[in-house]
Structure formats: C-alpha cells, structure tokens
Symmetry: C2
Amino acid sequence: MTDRLEQQIAFLNEADKLKSVNRGTLLCDASRRENSAEHSWHLTLYALVLADQAGPDVDITRVIKMLILHDLVEIDAGDNPIFGDYDPAEMEAQELAAADRIFGLLPIDLRDDLRATWEEFEANTTPSAQFAKSLDRFQPPMQNLAAGGGSWVEYSVTEEQFITKVGSKIKNGAPGLWAFAQKKVSTWFAANR
Amino acid sequence: MTDRLEQQIAFLNEADKLKSVNRGTLLCDASRRENSAEHSWHLTLYALVLADQAGPDVDITRVIKMLILHDLVEIDAGDNPIFGDYDPAEMEAQELAAADRIFGLLPIDLRDDLRATWEEFEANTTPSAQFAKSLDRFQPPMQNLAAGGGSWVEYSVTEEQFITKVGSKIKNGAPGLWAFAQKKVSTWFAANR
C-alpha cells in the first residue's frame, strides 16, 4: 500500500509542473499569461456552471474528469497556441510520448483509467468529449473579450480564422455557446479591424 | 436565455480573479507561490488519484465539485495561511460576505446549488466534505516536502503545530493519508529542527 501511495504522490508532484506551462491566453485583467493548471480549473467551473448547455447524452461528471486531465501532456509537450505556428503531427507525437511517460508514473489501474479518459477527450467523438472540447475552445474567447483582445491581437487573428479554428469546435459540442460567442466576437472584430 | 448566459459568464469572468490570489504554499520547485486557482485544480486531481483513500460513504463526484468551488470566496476574503496570524471569526464573516456577493452573480438555481455545496464543504460534517477537507490539508505538506520546507520554514512551524492544525484535519477524512504524511513530515522535522 505504501508503494502504491508513493507512486500516486510521485504522479501528483509531477503534475505540479502544469502550473509552470504558460498559454497564449491572458487573464481577464490582461496582467499576465494564464497557465495550463489554472486554465484547467477554470474549465471545470465552466462545466459546473454551463451544464445546462450540454446535450442530453453528456455526462458532466465525465466532462469534468476529462477537463482535469486534458492538458497534463503539456508538461512535456508544451502548450501550442491555436493561432501559433506548429506542426500538428509533431505535436500529436509529442503528446503521445508525454502521455506514456506521465500516466506511466501511476499504478497500472489508475494509469489505464486516466489514460483512457484523456484519449476519449482527444478523440472528440463521444458527446461528453465534444462538450468538454467545446468548453476548452469557448473559454479563451471569453478571456480575450474581457482582456481587450488578448491573443487575437498578439497573433493578428482574423474573424475568419477564428470561425474556422475555434468556432467549429465550440459549435460541435455546444451550439448555444457558439451562438452567444459568435455575436460578441463578431462585434469585437468589427470594432477592432 | 441570453440574460441567463450573460449572468453565467459574468460569474465565470469574476472567478478568473482566483488566479491572482496567492497562497502561503510554494510550488514543488519552490519557484514561486501557488495561487488558489491552480491549487484548486491540483486538489481535483488529488481526488481522482487518491479516491481509493476515501471511506465507503464518500461521493467522489461531490468531493470534486466542492474542491472546484472551495476557495472562490478568497477572491474577496484573501487566503489566510494556516500558520499565519488571523482572526477566525473575522475570516468567517469575510468569507460569508464573499459567498453572498460571488455566488449572488449567478442565476438563482445555480446560486443556491453552488452555495449549498460550498457550505457543505465549510461545515465539514458529511463524509464527502471531510474527505475534501482532508485533501485540502494533505496537499500543502506534500508541496512543502518537495520544496524543501516551504511554508514551514517561512512561518517557523513546529511539528506539534503541524499535528494540531493540519494533522487532525487530514486524519479526520483520510486516515491512510495521515499515516503516510505523518511519517514523512516527522522525518523532515527531525532533520530540520
């Protein structure tokens, strides 16, 4: 039992490094970049508060579990800002290697359970994964709107790029949130481009 | 529906401020203080990974919900480091006022649901609240051990103070974690006092 606990704590201490992975998105007050650990927390709160936007086949408990775990691979692979310049195939390979190493720190039963949850999120095919992914895409524009543009300004994003890269994913799992975001984002781009 | 969503987003944007509330605890690499948002995320991961340490009447889904919400009142009331100097009655009054204001941003159904969850955590009487509270007390010593002492050094904490203020709470909801922590913490204090 002590060996098992030692493994569990080693994993939890390793996970602490997610607090030092910075994202492209700024905090709402634009004071600094958001890190992936606090982003993950914020998304779990989004899931609690916006559960009424989920379809009937969505399991919110599972959504929250995915959101807790979804960015852990960034400890090794880093965060790739969605409007930044990166190779998706290389990113996927890095994230898979990261999942092997990081979930591999756990006792086997937990490793398999958490790894399967992360893979469900990544595959983005179940209703719960699609809703989780939609929240992950919906939160940054809410932060950008609050921060006066945030990463849209930094990466010189156009409204068309936003709709293609972000909008489609929000709409997929949370059409009500997309209708809400689209109106606000469109107003922002009209005033700032 | 739009008014409801506006309220939900106003709450979620307000919650962003928890990322700027710093705690007494350092990150595992001692590079900076931990903030209450990333701490809350880390605790939800503790709950997923250490669920096997919970008693039979603990509902882990409810534990995670409590941990997501438990520190939101610190947006107004600040974090009071457990070994710091503060007036518990004054802190409680500040946290109650904060709960009124912050949960009060939500639509009434969500306000009542999240407020009740936070109150269950604070009351610390149900098995789920006791396990959640134990994790909240168990994580900082794990960080301190990794960081070479962390807040124990800063606040000149004695082993007796640790056992009284922290150990009793860990033991209450997670006796297995207390047995694990006590041995490690005792070794640290023997080597560093």
